[in-house]
Every structure is written in structure tokens, then in C-alpha cells.
């Protein structure tokens, strides 16, 4: 087959796929509030239970960042920029991206495995026969829970990350505790934090959407569910990094 035709075919199928996923997402987002109790359950699953993972990730990232910036900064006698750069770096970039990636690993996989299993064991068909719309019952609460929770997780991660930097700064790098904290806030602007939280909301949508899409379209028994789970995590992770680049370009 000639290469032009192959390229065309790939482009068409990519466009078609994008359209399908977009319609799926729009349907999921539109059916908001049909099942409040499910939304609460998903907020617990996606938000609350992700706190330890996101918190630990942020703690170690903030601490490592402080060490790196200190040793890098020393090269041009600017070791004392540590608090400001840790705060800005966590809020604008590392908090949302690493938090999003950790949630992608934890949540996109769980959603895809759960919904995929429900698909291949006919539980989703059973929902239909019980007059319950699977998108409203399963997809919508997960999308909204992730969109609402990720900014909160990112916010908590920012604070813990800055604390991680502070711990290292005070205990290993010889900073004065009060001065470190004062310098953390001094150079941090509101938009640094808000842009990071907005990124978090976008990443939440990407994570839950990947999990729901690959779960709902799973087929072929246990191996199909395994494939769906892998695809969901890969798509969510790549999606987060790509969206991060696009949003950073847009915001700054």
C-alpha cells in the first residue's frame, strides 16, 4: 500500500478516535450530579486515599530539589535562592506533574481494571437492564471526583514539598528556619500557585478519562482487562506530560 494512503488512513482513524473520546468525555461531564452518593465514594477513592502517595512524592521531591538547587546555586554563589526556587518549582511544575503522574499510576489503573472487569463480566450490561445509565453511574462520578480532587491534592503536595525543602534546608544546609520560610513566601506569586492547581484539574480529567475510556471499551476477558489497564496508565501519563507542556506554554 502506498505511504500517502497509509498516512491518510492513520490520520482519519486518529481523528475519529479523538472525536469518540471527546464525545464520551462530554457525555460523562454533562451527567453531573445524577448520583451524589457515588460522587462522594469516588472522592474518597480518588482523593482521600491518594493523599499518602502524593504527600510522600512531594516530600521527597521538595527535599531533593533543595539539595540540587543548593549545590547548583553554590557554583555562582547563589545558594540562598533555595527556598524561593523550591517553592516556585513545586507550585508551578513539580507539584502538579509528579502528583498527576502518581495519581495516574494509582487511579487510572484502578478505574480501568474495575470498569474493564465490569464490562467483560456483563455487569455494565446488567446496569442497562436495571434502567441505569452506565455513563451517569460509573463514568461521571469518576471524572468529576478526579477534577475536584486533583487541585486539592496538588495544593497539599505543594505545601508538603516546601516542607520537605525546609527540612533539608534547616537540618542539612544550615538555613535559619524563619528566614527559609519567609523567603519561600516572599517570591511566590498567586498565579504560580493557581496555575499549578488548574493544571491539577486538567490532569485529573486526563487520568479519570483514560481509566474510564479504556475500562468501558475493554473486551476479551482477563487479558483484555490487563491490556485496558496498561493502556490507561500509559495514555494518562503521556497525556499529563503533553498537557503540562501545552498548559505551561499557555499560562506563562
Amino acid at each position: 500500500m502506498n505511504p500517502i494512503r497509509l498516512t491518510g488512513r492513520a490520520a482519519i482513524s486518529l481523528t475519529r478516535m479523538t472525536g469518540r473520546v471527546a464525545i464520551f468525555a462530554a457525555r460523562g461531564l454533562a451527567r453531573v450530579g445524577q448520583h451524589p452518593s457515588e460522587l462522594v465514594r469516588q472522592i474518597m477513592q480518588i482523593g482521600w486515599l491518594s493523599l499518602p502517595v502524593v504527600g510522600l512524592t512531594a516530600l521527597f521531591t521538595g527535599a531533593a530539589l533543595a539539595l540540587q538547587i543548593h549545590s547548583g546555586g553554590e557554583r555562582f554563589q547563589a545558594g540562598d535562592v533555595v527556598p524561593a526556587i523550591v517553592a516556585i518549582g513545586m507550585a508551578r511544575e513539580l507539584g502538579p506533574v509528579l502528583g498527576g503522574l502518581m495519581v495516574a499510576a494509582r487511579v487510572a489503573s484502578a478505574i480501568a481494571a474495575e470498569l474493564g472487569t465490569m464490562r467483560v463480566t456483563e455487569q455494565i450490561d446488567a446496569l442497562v437492564t436495571l434502567s441505569t445509565d452506565p455513563v451517569g453511574w460509573l463514568v461521571s462520578p469518576r471524572l468529576w471526583a478526579a477534577i475536584l480532587c486533583l487541585p486539592l491534592l496538588v495544593g497539599v503536595g505543594d505545601i508538603i514539598g516546601i516542607m520537605g525543602g525546609w527540612l533539608i534546608g534547616v537540618n542539612a544546609l544550615g538555613f535559619n528556619s524563619a528566614i527559609y520560610l519567609a523567603n519561600s513566601w516572599a517570591y511566590l506569586e498567586g498565579w504560580d500557585v493557581v496555575s499549578g492547581l488548574l493544571k491539577g484539574a486538567a490532569f485529573g480529567l486526563i487520568v479519570a478519562l483514560s481509566g474510564c475510556w479504556f475500562g468501558m471499551t475493554a473486551s476479551g476477558g482477563a487479558s483484555g482487562v490487563g491490556r485496558a489497564t496498561t493502556n490507561a496508565v500509559v495514555a494518562a501519563s503521556v497525556g499529563i506530560l503533553a498537557a503540562n507542556f501545552a498548559l505551561t506554554g499557555l499560562f506563562f
Binding site: 472487569t117 442497562v128 437492564t129 436495571l130 434502567s131
Partner: protein
Amino acid sequence: MLAVRGLSKAFGQKQVLDSVDLDLAEGESLVVIGGSGTGKSVLLRCILGLEVPDAGEILWRGRPLAQHRADFMDDFGMLFQNAALFDSLPVWRNVAFRLLRHMPKARARAIAIEKLARVGLGPEVADLYPAELSGGMRKRAGLARAIAADPRVIFFDEPTTGLDPIRAAAINALIRSIVDETGATAITITHDMSSVRAIADRVALLDRGRLRWQGPVSEIDRAGDDYLRDFIAGRARPMARVPAS
């Protein structure tokens, strides 16, 4: 009341249903029999719109079912072949799933426990999760879910497979009594001839995608069809049979 017209469905090269016509009167109990893998479950899935047919039409009360599927589903119950219980919910919430949307929890639970009792499951099962049940218990819990809201139309996909003969007889009697008492319309798929005799008003034999024979249950023993006779008697036939022309 429910009519299937020229229903065809293929998966890839495999023609599973080939222009099936079927009529079901209100309050009638139809039993569909046929060899394993002949498309009985696919037939039910196509009627429900869970599978998109390649051709044909489903009519309900004279109108295409696709146009008022939500109304149909509101008064419908289905037992899936593998029960398809929601494994994130305890048994009673499975059974009460439909009820919980328009009645208080305590009442829905009471009805669920009563329905579980009708299929021979005690109240101690109510708070277990589906993964903690045996295959036959899961089947019966699925049956309780199907009948929980007293639907007008019920599909049972192999209600007695995996049950001991005594339980199976009780389930057959239960299905028959539901049809008699509530006037529900039912389609039951089964391989079990004692179920056929207990449940059916009318019997349809599906073979290689076509309805090979259908008639009142009283006539199955007098039918001339050799495949049906072998089916009833449980006689072995050569496995590889030429496709129907």
C-alpha cells in the same frame, strides 16, 4: 406484544443469527432451546440492544423497541447467564438495586430479603459480597435481582444451570408461578428438558441461527422434527453437521 422480525447478527465470518422471527404474546412464557453456541444468548442481547443487530427489527407493543427502550427497561428484569452481579455491592444491594432509587433503604432491604427467600437464600446471605457465594448461589441471587421489582417482562438465561436437581425444580416452579401470578411475559433459555416442561407455554428450537421448530409445549413430544426429538431424548448426534441451506 414483543415481536422479532428478520433478526440477523454475525460476528466476523460467523453468522450467529440468520433472519430470526419470533412473536410473544402478553403473559406468555416462551422457552428457547438449542445447542450450545447457537446464539440463544446473542438473541436476548440483540432484543435488548446490548448487541447491535446487522438486520431486522424488534417491535414492542407494535412500535420499534429502539424508540422507547427506556420505557421497556423500566418494567424489565434479566437474569444473565453468568449472573453478572455487581461485585462491589453486597448481595442485598444487588437485589434491591432498582428499588433503592425510589424507596427508603429499610423497605428496599426488606423486599430484597423476601426475594432472596423466594430463591432459597437465607437472610444471612444478604450482607455477603457476590465473590463469597457459590456459582449456584450467585445464579439465584441474580434471579432475585431480576424479579425484585416485579417486572412485566423477564428474560432468564439458563436459570437452572449449576443447581442441584431439587433446587432446579424449585426454581422452575418459581418462574412458572411468577408468570401465572403476575402475568409477566417471559423468555427462558435452557438446556434442561424438565425446565422446558415446567416453564414453557411455547417452545422455540434455535439451530444454526434459525428457528428450526416452534410450537406449544404440549406438542414437543409429537413433533416430527428429528433434531428436536434427539434434543428431548438427549441422544448423541454427529457433531459436525452440514450448514443449513
